[in-house]
């Protein structure tokens, strides 16, 4: 063991490894403790991050939007073309004027009352399950998931909407609860099919939640004076609440991981202390043959650090494996590790190695400070 090239470069590591091999079962168990601690910390972190990301994915579309409705000082309870143009002049992002009215729809499977939504390019807010919505959409309707189920209809078929026969272009996926269009119960038509030029609300779709908050502020400043012509709503408070909940969750998970790592480092402390006591004579001999106190300290610390290092490496490998499963479950992509998930894995590794190094300090110090004479006296 001492005559390999590597051992010649790092004789202390080689010796430390040799010493750990002497009590193999004990070393493996201590290492397993660190591994479990690192797994707890890293995989709980990955879980939290994936969970948060899965929510954020659906939340972000909503939070990136600014909802504009006629304010209390507006001359009319509806917007017209002029209002839309005013808003378009004031923002850089796409503007979606939306008109809604009640109606009824019937198909082969049955009949239901529904809300008809007239808007351009609904794909900015909903996802299509079957069929497709053309870029220049003029004829045909897009049917929400629940409506499609009730009417038992598919793209290419025909439904009757408010007495008129319409061809179904696409059927939508079930939308998340946070989607403010709530498209499941609705039927979408293109604005060109609508006879009305009045809009209940206008949505400005910004790139990110932050951009949306800024847009909302700018709109409020430019369009409203002392009187509120436009009621401008963003989702800043909602997203703040969401962020707060998520950080509470992360802290909680981190706490559980931290406690298990603490337990693991106590077991390293125990192992190193036992090893120190067991090897009292040997350490005494080493002191006698010229090992400085610092040398003994270095040796014992190397042992603790090796336990921690390998424990942490195994922990990280297993955590990444678990992370693949977690990501596949929550984000439907095993490799969708978020920055947070990687940070937690790195933290787990760091804490694992540092914790065992710290646990090694006291036994190493104790071993190094045993006087050579006393170590040999039996």
């Amino acid at each position: 063991m001492l005559d390999s090239t590597l051992s010649r470069r790092f004789p202390f590591l080689a010796l430390a490894k040799q010493n750990l091999m002497r009590a193999r079962a004990r070393s493996v168990l201590a290492m397993a403790g660190i591994t479990i601690g690192v797994i707890a910390l890293a995989s709980l972190g990955i879980f939290g991050a994936a969970y948060e990301q899965s929510y954020r994915n659906s939340f972000d579309t909503t939070a990136s939007s600014v909802l504009v409705t006629p304010g209390e000082d507006a001359p009319s309870p509806h917007f017209d073309r002029e209002n839309v143009k005013t808003i378009e002049r004031n923002v850089d992002s796409p503007v979606y004027p939306i008109a809604q009215y009640g109606g009824s729809a019937s198909g082969l499977g049955g009949e239901t009352s529904t809300t008809v939504v007239s808007m351009q390019r609904p794909t900015a807010f909903v996802t299509v399950s079957e069929g497709q919505i053309p870029e220049e959409w003029r004829s045909g309707v897009v049917v929400g998931a629940s409506v499609a189920e009730t009417l038992d209809t598919r793209p290419g078929e025909t439904i009757v909407l408010n007495g008129e026969r319409r061809r179904v272009r696409a059927v939508l996926d079930e939308a998340s609860r946070s989607n403010f269009l709530q498209p499941d119960e609705k039927v979408f038509i293109s604005p060109s099919q609508s006879t009305r030029s009045q809009y209940q609300f206008i949505i400005v779709n910004a790139d990110s939640p932050t951009a949306a908050f800024e847009t909302a502020e700018a709109l409020d400043e430019n369009l409203n004076g002392r009187r509120t012509f436009y009621d401008i709503v963003d989702f800043e408070s909602a997203i703040e609440r969401f962020n707060q909940q998520m950080s509470t969750l992360q802290t909680f998970l981190f706490g559980i991981g931290g406690v298990s790592l603490l337990v693991a480092s106590v077991s390293i402390l125990n192992v190193m202390l036992m090893s120190t006591i067991e090897r009292k004579e040997e350490i005494g001999v080493m002191r006698a043959v010229g090992y400085r106190r610092l040398d003994i300290l270095r040796l014992m610390l190397s042992e603790a650090a090796l336990l921690g290092l390998f424990g942490a490496i195994f922990g990280v490998v297993i955590s990444i494996g678990l992370g693949l499963v977690i990501n596949a479950e929550f984000l439907s992509d095993p490799f969708a590790f978020t920055v947070d998930a990687i940070t937690f894995t790195a933290l787990g590794f760091l804490f694992g190695t540092v914790a065992s190094f710290i646990s090694g300090l006291y036994p190493a110090w104790k071993a190094a400070n045993a006087r050579p004479v006393e170590s040999l006296r039996d």
């Binding site: 063991m1 001492l2 005559d3 010649r8 004789p11 202390f12 010796l15 040799q18 010493n19 091999m21 002497r22 004579e281 040997e282 005494g284 001999v285 080493m286 002191r287 006698a288 043959v289 010229g290 090992y291 400085r292 106190r293 040398d295 006087r371 050579p372 004479v373 040999l376 006296r377």
Partner: protein, 222 residues
Amino acid sequence: MSIISATNATKVYQSGDKELRALDGVDVSVDPGEFAAVVGPSGSGKSTLLNLLGLLDEPSDGSVTVDGVALSSLSKRERTDLRRETVGFIFQSFYLVPTLTARENVAIPGLVRSDRERLIERADDLLTRVGLGDRLDHYPNELSGGQKQRVAVARSMINDPDILLADEPTGNLDQNTGAQVLDVFDEFTDEGVAILTVTHDEQVTDFADRTIRLVDGMIQDA
């Protein structure tokens, strides 16, 4: 000139309000190539003297001098370094590391030196010289008591010491294997290495150039 000398060395241990004088004004000096045996009843201060000469402990009074340098003038670290360069130790119960081979056990003290290049070759040389050239890769549990002690002697020589200090080196060995260890000692004293051994074994005292008799912490003239 002597390698190590103790002048008026006194060691007092405090236990409670009682004072135990383990050594009481001992003068000893060891010359190169000399084989000296320290004998005396148990509790006479033999081990204490060995610890003082091995730079493992400091005298309460008097001085220990190595190559003209007084021990009291050195820091702990300097003393450790001086010990590594000057003194080799041999113990009654060998103290080999069970998971290391004979070669590795011999090499261990050299690991902390900066000139590690030829460490393994030196270990092999020394093992060959103590007659274990064919046991280089054997583990301690594959060696007999006498062989283990010879590995320990080779280990004590790895840093080229000027003096070997042995504490009952033949205490766990029978007559025959003890003689083999003494033969090895003889070979090293011929090269100028001094050996000071504490012993109860008459075989060793017969072999020694000089016998120092300790009684109650004082040297008793023969």
